[in-house]
């Protein structure tokens, strides 16, 4: 019996991150490391600071203090807010992916589905048109959108299809780290199920590292390996998903778990 092999190099290390808009509004004192292939869920009720934290982690909102360091595949460490703007933008385009809650915020509604995916590929240097079109079509199939709709506008798609298109657009550049804000919020349950299954399959196939904000503990149970539970800007409990949901320690976590219908 040999020691298990565990990744020693994290993808992201977060130290003492704080971004406050008012007393206990925002996030503070956040510390964690994210490893390759891991899905970290950030759960908590409205106003707990989940989205603020996600914005800091995705490079969109500089924190008041603290460090967020991304470790590339090549082993280089980039402090995402001390590197220059151009470098950060490149990182966000090529190694990060951000799936927004409302697909309309993450898609360009007036260019075709194929172009939405193709744009991302071009932004990281792909110039070969038929290659781009092929990759885009393949991705549409991966997310179960009929490839024939490659030239259709996303405005003609249903909400679920738009969300799947957003996921395809984000993953087309093979990011190592994907950040998702309530990826199935507001969708019908059957549509939600399809998207959750898709995310589950892609995470394991592509060995993605994911940070996902969700208020839905059932989604957290299904997709996340670890959880951070936030309340009023602080992380009150963190650990393995099944441990947090089956043996919650903090009073707030216990309250959350006992409040849902089927956690």
């Amino acid at each position: 019996m040999k020691l298990p092999i565990v990744a020693t190099q994290p993808v992201l290390t977060v130290n003492g991150v704080q971004k406050l808009y008012a007393i206990n509004r925002g996030c503070q004192d956040v510390n964690f490391s994210l490893y390759p292939g891991e899905v970290l869920g950030i759960v908590g009720e409205s106003g707990s600071g989940k989205s603020t934290l996600l914005h800091c982690l995705s490079g969109q909102t500089p924190p008041d203090s603290g460090d967020i360091t991304y470790h590339s595949h090549a082993g280089e460490a980039h402090n995402i807010y001390t590197i220059n703007e151009a470098k950060r933008r490149l990182l966000m385009r090529s190694e990060f992916g951000i799936v927004k809650q409302h697909p309309r915020d993450g898609l360009r509604m007036r260019v075709s589905a194929g172009a939405n995916i193709g744009e991302r590929l071009m932004a990281v240097g792909d110039r070969h048109y038929s290659h781009i079109r092929q990759v885009a079509t393949d991705w549409l199939e991966q997310v179960e959108i009929d490839a024939e709709r490659v030239d259709h506008l996303p405005s003609e798609f249903s909400g679920g299809m738009q969300q799947r298109l957003q996921i395809a657009r984000v993953l087309a550049t093979h990011p190592r780290l994907v950040l998702m804000d309530e990826p199935t919020g507001g969708l019908d349950v059957s549509v939600q199920a399809k998207i959750l299954d898709l995310i589950r399959a892609l995470v394991s196939e592509l060995n993605l590292s994911v940070i996902m904000v969700t208020h839905d503990l059932a989604v957290a149970r299904l997709l996340c390996h670890r959880l951070l539970v936030m309340q009023k800007s602080r992380v009150v409990e963190s650990g393995l998903t099944d441990q947090i949901l089956d043996d919650p320690q903090h009073p707030y976590t216990q309250l959350l778990v006992s409040s849902v219908l089927t956690p």
Binding site: L3, P4, I5, V6, E38, Q254
Partner: protein, 231 residues
Amino acid sequence: MPTTRLVVSNLKKDFILHTQHNAHIPVFNGFSLSVDSGECAVLLGPSGMGKSTFLKCLYGNYKITSGSITLYFDDGEIDVAKCEPEWIHGLRRQTIGYVSQFLRVIPRVAAIDVVVEPLLMQGVTKEDAYQKAAVLLARLHIPEKLWSLSPTTFSGGEQQRVNIARGFIANYPVLLLDEPTASLDAKNRAVVIELINEAKANGAAVVGIFHDKDVRDTVADNVIDLSQFVA
């Protein structure tokens, strides 16, 4: 000479239910146990004593209040009670298999996919993994026509057999079994006993809960009465 693989030392577990008037439920205290490779330790005690709770602590599913749970490897040791989450993931992937009392069904996942998952996570090829799963499911008398269906509609006994297949497929060196034979008929109980004996012969350290005395008598090398550790 048998190698000691698992040492539980002075384990204490309490539950504090903050949302229910801060009810303080002590479960066990001062629990110590040692299991060698190839040995099967069986926990005994009436319902509600804390047997399943103990297995869940070993698996990292429940947090312990104090004490240690040390796994001894050829090349090192890990205290489950104190290690970081990524290490627990590693242990669950390569070291500890757990057959829970009830299968937690994930909807829309086919029975055979549930069973292959541990092998796929260990890097086994799809072809080999599915082949092994088919053999194991057949051995546990799950009809082939059910393999591509989600266990959601299976009977309790069928669900438990899927759970058992998943627990035994990856040849884990440490196995935690919580009432694996409770919902099974004699024919399938016999298969589970075979599986346990094969695992022991392969050097697995097994900790189990079996209400069935016959099964217990057949597989147990060491019987521990949990009531001596009740808090």
